[in-house]
């Protein structure tokens, strides 16, 4: 049975409707429980953080398989380092730092060793009724370099300040600001041309 079918059967059987909602426990409490071996805590940490981590990876690499691998590897790295994790620090930024840096590395490697011609890459799928603008934006984002995509994702998807982004990517703050400005200018220009 495929994972899709399992997920659908969950929904059909009502498991998703009446199943465990996310608790009010803090990340720190969940990390503490996970360090003690509580599988439910690991599961809840995963459910809290996977959507943003997976999305960030996909927006930087624009490759579904790679995004899944990168996001999954970020969680496994976090799990392996759980015993050493400082619970006073928030978990989200730690995961985001891992995943975005890995996504940048993967994109650079891909650029050096392309597996397919650029024009053969599939386009991103979208189903929203307002997809025309969204598609234009994502297409313009895909045309940027991975370093620029990463700062856009960290700033405008994950909501970090330029100072925080600088710390996450180990860059001078001025570099982050200039990458962000150039990226937004390029996106604005692309959108203008589409109109």
């Amino acid at each position: 049975m495929s994972t899709e079918e399992i997920a659908v059967q969950d929904a059909v059987a009502g498991r998703l409707r009446v199943g465990r909602p996310l608790s009010r426990r803090t990340d720190a409490a969940l990390v503490r429980a996970a360090q003690r071996g509580d599988g439910d805590a690991v599961d809840e940490l995963f459910r809290r953080h996977w959507p943003a981590v997976h999305r960030a990876a996909w927006l930087v690499v624009h490759d579904p398989a790679a995004a899944e691998d990168i996001a999954q590897e970020a969680f496994l790295s976090a799990l392996r380092a759980l015993d050493r994790f400082d619970r006073r620090r928030p978990l989200g930024p730690w995961l985001h730092r891992i995943v975005v840096n890995r996504a940048i590395d993967w994109s650079r490697a891909r650029a050096l060793r392309p597996e397919t011609a650029a024009d053969a890459l599939p386009e991103a799928a979208a189903q929203d009724s307002a997809r025309d603008v969204g598609e234009d934006i994502l297409a313009a984002l895909a045309d940027l370099g991975p370093e620029h995509r990463a700062v856009v994702v960290l700033r405008h998807l994950l909501g970090y300040t330029p100072g925080e982004i600088a710390a996450m990517l180990d860059l001078p703050r001025g570099t982050v600001n200039s990458r962000l400005r150039r990226a937004l200018d390029a996106l604005a220009l692309a959108l203008e041309e589409e109109r």
Partner: protein, 395 residues
């Protein structure tokens, strides 16, 4: 970038469906849980013990009574035992077969398809958008710069017209089907149902499907890019009502108006109520009394789809919070699932509600009884890709 462009960027980043979103999440979750199980100390929490006890009890129950077993019932019973909450009745998969009479219009990358109740599907052609005629005899189909009326049985094109600008969002007027409203470029246009007398009816039309009023088949509601919604007579072009966004307009305090974004328009079956929906709020206008009922969704929650039932005032909404989408009928949740559930379609008899689940290649079907808690849910796997969208379930 302007503030609007930044908002559009952030919306695209946070809302664009990811390929195989649900499957990827489940694969990763299983990998992570397995990795943790190998490294974690051998201590099981009380809740885990309870789950095992409940699972054992469910297994025994299933073993004793095989007559009505089946995976769906097992899981349903199991969940009742564990959480002691009412769960919807589970229905096993039945292959691609629709539970009610009628045919579905479905688009994907390869074009437009008609899906029969039996599950048999027929390709109409490489159309990107479409709508049924009132009795399902024809389909108004759009692709690039062409609008056409297509016979869904023979796939023959009855008539077509070409426009200099892209054509989308065709909607056939109800009852006699005299008119088709559609978007060309950024204009609203209306053409007779026989393809003649194609006229421009409005400027600055938003990327929102126009909505014909069921009880008054010449009356159309449409949204402009600034958030203004106009109700007008298609024959005389007389504006009957405008929901403006100015300081004294009825939408002045809504997020929809402030953002200048209307995402959905829908009429109740009697044509009395008009739903104007944005991303974060929606307003129902009662045109008989002049009353309006505005609802603002909590932060982090977005409205994905809305559909009035073909009879009565039941309104179905798909609302997304985090990585889950909840489907509500009349305000009562009937289904919650991971990822994005959208493209709500009522069956022609109003007994079933279909919710598209693009990332899982499934349609979820809710049997909409009078009480939401009695709703039953089933699922069918379709053979379309992740870009599949439904465009109407008709007669």
């Amino acid at each position: 970038m302007t503030r609007d462009e930044i908002e559009a960027l952030e919306r695209a980043l946070s809302e664009t469906p990811l390929p195989e979103e649900v499957a990827a999440r489940e694969r990763a979750r299983q990998t992570l849980v397995a990795a943790h199980a190998q490294t974690a100390p051998r201590r099981r929490s009380r809740s885990v013990r309870l789950v095992w006890v409940a699972a054992l009890a469910a297994a025994i129950t299933v073993g004793v009574s095989q007559r009505d077993s089946g995976l769906a019932h097992e899981v349903s019973d199991w969940m009742r035992a564990v959480v002691k909450q009412p769960a919807p009745t589970a229905t096993p998969f039945n292959g691609l077969q629709l539970p009610a009479a009628g045919r579905l219009l479905v688009s994907e990358d390869s074009g437009m398809w008609v899906v029969e109740r039996s599950g048999k599907r027929k390709r109409l052609g490489s159309w990107q958008d479409a709508t049924w005629s009132p009795r399902g005899l024809y389909v108004a189909a759009a692709s690039e710069r062409t609008l056409a009326a297509v016979d869904p049985d023979t796939r023959s094109v009855r008539w077509q017209l070409r426009r200099p600008e892209p054509v989308s969002l065709p909607r056939w007027s109800p009852e006699e089907g005299f008119y088709i409203a559609y978007r060309s470029g950024r204009s609203l246009r209306i053409v007779y149902g026989n393809g003649e007398h194609d006229v421009k009816a409005g400027d600055r039309m938003a990327n929102v499907a126009p909505a014909w009023r069921p009880s008054a088949p010449r009356t159309l509601a449409w949204a402009a890019t600034d958030g203004t919604v106009t109700i007008e007579d298609a024959l005389t072009a007389k504006v009957l009502r405008t929901f403006g966004t100015g300081p004294s307009g009825p939408l002045r305090d809504s997020l929809t108006a402030r953002a200048g974004r209307v995402r959905d328009l829908a009429w109740s079956s009697d044509g009395r109520r008009l739903l104007i929906a944005g991303r974060r709020d929606y307003t129902i206008h009662d045109l008989a009394t002049g009353e309006r009922d505005a609802t603002r969704l909590p932060a982090g929650t977005t409205l994905l789809a809305a559909a009035y039932a073909p009879a009565g005032h039941r309104l179905a909404l798909a609302v997304r919070t985090g990585d889950e989408t909840e489907v509500r009928i009349g305000g009562e949740p009937v289904l919650r699932g991971p990822g994005r559930l959208s493209e709500l379609e009522w069956s022609p008899d109003g007994r079933w509600l279909l919710a598209g689940w693009p990332s899982a290649d499934h349609w979820l079907l809710v049997r909409a009884s009078a009480r939401a808690r009695d709703a039953a849910v089933s699922g069918v796997r379709h053979r379309f890709g992740t870009t599949a969208r439904t465009h109407g379930w008709c007669c």
